[in-house]
Amino acid sequence: MKSEVERLKIGSVIAASIWRLVKVNPAVWAIVALVVIFSALVPDKFLSTSNLVAILKNFAVTSMLAVGPTFVILLGSIDVSYMGIWMFGGALVWLLYPYLGLASIAIYPIFGLLVGLFNGVVHVKAKVPSFILTIAVTAVLAFLTTYVRNISGVLTLIVPAYNFLRESPIPYIPSPFLLALPVIVLALFIMFFTKLGTYFCAIGSNEEGAKLAGINVEKYKILAFTLSGLLTGLGSIAIFVHLGCQTRVDFDPSELVRGLAAIVLGGTPLAGGMGGPHRTLLGALVYVLIFNGLFLLPGVDPNHLKLYVGTLLLGAVIAASRALKGALIA
């Protein structure tokens, strides 16, 4: 049996670690504030079961767009190929379904991995700036997706055979969330329990130092891009199911912003070196709460929602980068 003193000690350790969590993750404050504000303004709508389920669903989708690229952003590079992987990966599933049957869903992670590997090798070996490279990749893949739809003469690239995935075995827990969970666990494991997380941060915060400490910088950069592609590929399955077992066929820049917004709001600076998937998850939650809450507010035109959220993000990003600069100087 634990003595009173020991129990007190454990209590203070827990309190200290919670305090630390809140201190280093300002997104926690934002989440608490958003929940309090929207619960007060529109309690019946915001706290309804269906809305909470919707939040969970949207959280799964947003985090699946953002968790993979977080590793690349840790390096101080950027990877926006997630849109391309998600869109064209779905087209590939649709194309291959007649031949491979249900197994064709496995093309998602494989395709993601290959795109990530390609990005990494070209970025590192040919020294192509990562943003230009990955946005070009996304442009090509988005075009190909639309092209597949057009020449097939169909409206949507839907694969109804996967509909069974849409049903969740657990009540109130949406299936996209369940599908996202293993990806989240994998990302957190890589970040905290393998040396990869440390190496990525090392390269992002002090590339010269990482090199001098004997890290094969080129190899781990390629690995980060590959990992980003793989996680996005895996995560895209959750988004695919969320959209009713189909993929998006037209490119929407606001979806592109969504992933980056989750990363930056969570507190992984685009300059790299700190943060990680855990922060991205918090950032995804912040993003989803803002969107969801504003949607419920009376008097907010849903058509203008993207504008509001976009403007809000702009402010948040500027504030976050300023606060960070302050922290670095102090």
């Binding site: 905290f192 329990f193 393998t194 040396k195 440390t198 190496y199 941060c201 090392a202 915060s205 002090n206 010269e208 130092g209 990482a210 090199k211 001098l212 400490a213 004997g214 890290i215 094969n216 910088v217 080129e218 070196g273 700190m274 670095l328």
Partner: protein
């Protein structure tokens, strides 16, 4: 005013950083007309802080300042100092390589030579010519700064300091204000001959200016100064007027370090009483060459031996070290680790695998400042802090990480609350200890050291030396590159003198100490 009256004086200056580090403690110095005053002391003795107060970079906590006998406030900023006749030539970063000499000379002063937005080049060049003539400086005004030899670059910098004082003060003949030019370690990048050239130049300029000369090289200080202030731990511990008293170099040295000598450190740790001949050769370098940097470098490094590559900055010593740990690739020659040839073109990670580690004292170069000590230690030690439940997965064990970091903290006496302390909050010496500590458990065969104790105080230095010497005693071989002759005397068994990229001579520790007067 008599010639002996001070033109610039500070009294009882104190300065504390971060409320704890006492950088200056009631320091008083003065400068007379037409003299060279030296301020000597170790790194961290407070020399730089004092100079920065004189030019307005820092404000002192307390103290008084007098100019021409009148009490004046301390300068608010460098521009204010300049307008009062005080200017500084910094040790490094002074020269802008791609500017032409006259452009550099008037950098920041162009305003005074602009009419209707157009720079009056003719006027500038004319003035530059007359100034150079007056100062006895011979060089082509139209050449770029980087084309000049290092000593001439320094002279141009000094000329610029004098010129800016004159222009800012607006002196027209009636020399009420005599420029006081502070020279911060001006000879650091220069060879011996170039140093003499620079000093002859200064002796000439002394007729119309006064100089404060900051240095830690005792012989040159003795040769060219009129008076010497010795600073130690933020206090003036001695003041000598060389025109009236006889002082020996030994005496000054003792005053600087505050005790007899700490070169006995080396002797305490000498590996097998200096006999390395029977030891295994861990690194052989044969005719290593990189065009334009170094040529035909050959030596053998034994287990537990430390070889110093000694020479002025730019002699190729740092490039040789870089070629050894894989930062740059040599063009020709051979590097053998444990008698096996290794590729000349390589990367640091491949060299780490071969057992070559690297440690620099430059803060932040290979330390992750925003990481806890624990992570900074485990970055090179992942094989020690991970477990393998499956063959392909290695999982970090936080307990192993923590206990490894704790072990190193204890061994190196790193002063920090715990292993989770982020490194930016540590003092310079403790940062360096974390930096070197990570190699302690890794035990590389060879450790390349670059300025291992740059910018830290005496006490911390000694601790770093002890750690390094202990590692050496345990058989780790070392290559040292530094700017400080004392460091070579403390750490090295053998010193290879390099000049212009080629080996000039090889000395034993004793020979080297005799030669340097240490």
């Amino acid at each position: 005013m008599g010639t002996l009256d001070p033109i610039l004086e500070v009294r009882d200056v104190s300065k504390t950083f971060d409320r704890v580090v006492r950088a200056l403690d009631n320091v008083s110095i003065m400068v007379r007309r037409n003299e060279i005053v030296s301020v000597v002391g170790e790194n961290g003795a407070g020399k730089s802080t004092l100079m920065k107060i004189l030019v307005g970079v820092y404000q002192p906590d307390s103290g008084e300042m007098y100019q021409m006998g009148r009490k004046v406030p301390f300068p608010r900023d460098p521009l204010d100092a300049l307008s009062r006749g005080i200017s500084i030539v910094y040790q490094e970063r002074g020269v802008i390589p791609h500017l032409k000499v006259y452009q550099f000379l008037f950098l920041g002063l162009e305003e005074k030579f602009t009419r209707l937005g157009r720079l009056q080049l003719g006027k500038i060049i004319g003035l530059a010519k007359s100034v150079f003539e007056e100062l006895g400086l011979k060089c082509d005004l139209a050449s770029s700064m980087y084309e000049l030899p290092p000593s001439t670059q320094k002279m141009v910098e000094i000329a610029r300091a004098i010129l800016s004082v004159r222009l800012m003060v607006g002196m027209d003949g009636e020399a009420e204000i005599i420029p006081v030019i502070i020279l911060d370690e001006p000879t650091a990048p220069l060879s011996i001959e170039e140093r003499d050239e620079l000093f002859n130049y200064l002796l000439n300029l002394k007729k119309s200016n006064s100089f404060i000369f900051v240095s830690h090289i005792i012989p040159e200080v003795m040769k060219f100064s009129d008076r010497i202030y010795v600073l130690r731990d933020g206090r003036v511990v001695a003041h000598h007027d060389l025109s009236s008293e006889k002082v020996t170099e030994d005496q000054i040295f003792r005053e600087i370090v505050g005790r007899e000598s700490y070169y006995d450190l080396w002797a305490r740790y000498v590996y097998g009483a200096g006999a390395v001949e029977g030891r295994r050769v861990v690194l052989s370098v044969r005719n290593l060459t990189k065009k334009g940097y170094f040529e035909n470098i050959s030596f053998d490094l034994h287990e537990g031996e430390c070889i110093g590559l000694f020479g002025p900055a730019g002699c190729g010593k740092s490039e040789i070290a870089k070629a050894l740990y894989g930062e740059i690739a040599a063009d020709a020659g051979e590097i053998l680790v444990d008698s096996r040839k290794v590729k000349l073109k390589s990367e640091p990670y491949a060299r780490v695998k071969l057992g070559i580690g690297y440690f620099s004292g430059e803060t932040g170069k290979e330390l992750f400042l925003f990481w806890p000590i624990r992570k900074n230690v485990s970055i090179v030690n992942f094989d020690k802090v991970t477990k393998r439940p499956l063959k392909i997965i290695s999982v970090i064990s936080f307990n192993a990480e923590r206990s490894l970091a704790e072990k190193i903290m204890k061994k190196l006496r790193i002063r920090a609350p715990n292993v989770e302390t982020e490194c930016y909050s540590l003092s310079g010496g403790n940062k360096q200890k974390v930096s070197v500590g990570k190699w302690l458990e890794k035990s590389p065969k060879i450790l390349v050291l670059e300025d291992p104790t740059i910018g830290i105080d005496v006490g911390a230095r000694e601790e770093i030396y002890e750690v390094l010497l202990e590692m050496k005693k345990n058989g780790i071989a070392m290559i040292l590159v530094s700017d400080d002759p004392k460091e070579y005397a403390i750490l090295c068994d053998k010193i290879i003198s390099i000049r212009g990229g080629v080996i000039q001579a090889t000395y034993t520790n004793e020979e080297f100490r005799r030669l340097m007067g240490l």
